[in-house]
Symmetry: C2
C-alpha cells in the first residue's frame, strides 16, 4: 500500500500469561496484545507476523515480528521501542525496531532461529527462575547428552521430534547447532536451525534428558532420525523452560538479535 | 529448651509481594510466611529471626533465618529445604539448612552482609528483569561512580546514608566492599558491611547514581561521611532494585552463601 512503512520489531515477552504467539478467538496471545498496542499507537488496525509461532508458556528474548505502519503514523523507527513499550503490559516489551525492505516477512525471510531450553538443577526450585527454567534435581550424564546432541547437527528428516498435532509433508530441517552447556545450577540445551517443527525443541530436550538420566542410549538420537518415528524420541519437556533467544536474517535485513548472555547460563 | 534443635535456614524470596521481612499486624511478610510453613511442618509455633530486616519489595537470594525446631520434629536438616519449600508459596524457597551451635543468632552472629543494587540500563524495561532491577536508560559516568564508591570503604559514621525513620545512637559501620560493576545492560552496586542502617544501601546507591549522572561531584560521598547529615546524600533508590545476596558468619557457623553469580551481572 502506498506510503506504508514495513517495520521489523524485536519483541521480548514472558510467556507465562500468553496462550502462545498466534491470535486465537478467546485467550490472550502475543499477536493480539502486540496488534492492540500498534493499533493504539497508529490509530488504525495493524497486523503483525511473527518469526516463530511460540507455544503457550514459551518465552522470547528476541522474537521478531513484522508489520506495516500506515503512512499517517509518523513515529521514527528508533522511537518505536519506547513509544510501544509504554503502552504494552509489563510482560512484553519492544527492545528494537527498524525499517525493513518491502516484502520482508519475519518468518519466511528468517535464516535461522535460536532456542534455549533451560533446566534448574538445584535441590529446590528458585523463586526467581521458577517461571523460566524447568526444575530437575536428579543426576544427569551431561557428556552423554552432549554426544547425543552432536548427532542432531546437520540436515535431516526431523519428524521423529515433531509433536503429532500438526503432520507435515516435508520434515527436513537443517540443525546448525545443538549443544548442551552445564553451568550449575543451570543446564542449557541450545538449538539453532533454519526452521522448526511443532514442539521440536521441547522434544529434542526431552530426548536428550532421557539420554542424560540413562533411560535411553546416546545412539537413540541417531536411531530416531533414521527411523522417522515419533515413538523413537522422548517426551516434550514443559513449555516454561523454553525461550526463543533470537532470529537471524540474511545480510542483516532484520534487527540484531539480543546477546544470548542475557539468558543464563 | 531441652531437645530443641537450633537451625539456620538459607532463604530466597522475590520481595515484590512481601511487606518486608518483619512480621506486622496486617500485611504479608517473609517472617510470617516462613513461621507459618515451619508451624505446618513441626505442628508447633516456631519463631524465626532474620539476619537482615529487608524492606518491603527488597529481594533475597541468601537471607539467613534461625529458629529452634521442637524435639518432636524429627526431620534431618538436609531434608528441611525440600520439605519446607514444598509447603511455601512460589515466591519463597529454602535453599539450605544446617544445625548451628546453641545461642546462634542470625543477626547478631553475622560477620557481614552482602547487598547488590541492580540497574537495568537498556532503553526499554525488560519483561524478565523489571521486578528485580531499576530501569534507568540515561548516561552514567561509571568511573566517577566507582571512585565515589571507593571512598565509602572503611569504618565511618554512616548516618548521612540512613533513612530518617529510625534514628540511631551509634551509626558507625565498617564497609568492607563498595564497588560498581557495569556489564550492559546491567549495572550493579555491591555493598558488603558488618551492619547496615535503615535504607543505607538504597541511599548509597542513590548518592552514587547522582554522582554518575553529574548531579553531585565525586567528593560528595566524602563530604556526606564527614558531614553526618542526611541532606548531604542522595535519594534512596526504589526497593525493587535491591537484593540481599548473602550473609557470612565467623568460622563458617552458618550456611554457605549462594554464589553472587546467580544474580547478574
Amino acid at each position: 500500500v502506498n506510503g506504508e512503512r514495513p517495520i521489523a520489531l524485536l519483541v521480548s515477552y514472558a510467556g507465562s500469561a500468553f496462550a502462545g504467539f498466534q491470535r486465537q478467538a478467546g485467550p490472550r496471545t502475543v499477536q493480539q496484545v502486540l496488534e492492540e498496542a500498534l493499533g493504539r499507537l497508529s490509530g488504525q488496525a495493524v497486523a503483525v507476523r511473527g518469526a516463530g509461532r511460540t507455544d503457550a508458556g514459551v518465552h522470547a528474548l528476541g522474537q521478531v515480528a513484522d508489520c506495516c505502519l500506515p503512512a499517517t503514523c509518523r513515529i521514527a523507527p528508533d522511537r518505536l521501542p519506547l513509544a510501544l513499550s509504554a503502552t504494552l503490559p509489563p510482560d512484553m516489551a519492544i527492545a528494537g525496531a527498524e525499517a525493513v525492505p518491502p516484502g520482508f516477512h519475519a518468518r519466511f525471510w528468517a535464516q535461522s532461529k535460536h532456542y534455549r531450553y533451560l533446566f534448574w538443577r538445584a535441590a529446590v526450585p528458585s523463586p526467581f527462575w521458577r517461571p523460566y527454567a524447568w526444575h530437575f534435581s536428579g543426576p544427569l550424564d551431561v557428556a552423554a547428552m552432549a554426544a547425543a546432541a552432536a548427532d542432531l547437527v546437520g540436515r535431516h528428516d526431523c519428524r521423529a521430534f515433531a509433536g503429532s498435532a500438526r503432520p507435515v509433508d516435508d520434515a527436513t530441517r537443517t540443525i546448525l547447532e545443538c549443544s548442551v552447556c552445564s553451568a550449575p545450577p543451570w543446564l542449557a540445551i541450545d538449538v539453532r536451525a533454519d526452521g522448526f517443527l511443532y514442539r521440536m525443541v521441547r522434544t529434542i530436550a526431552g530426548t536428550l534428558f532421557e539420554v542424560g538420566r540413562g533411560a535411553r542410549p546416546v545412539s537413540a538420537v541417531r536411531a530416531a532420525i533414521a527411523g522417522r518415528d515419533r515413538r523413537l524420541a522422548g517426551p516434550a519437556l514443559p513449555a516454561h523452560g523454553l525461550c526463543l533467544l533470537g532470529v537471524r536474517y540474511p545480510d542483516a535485513a532484520g534487527p540484531t538479535p539480543p546477546s544470548p548472555g542475557l539468558w543464563p547460563p
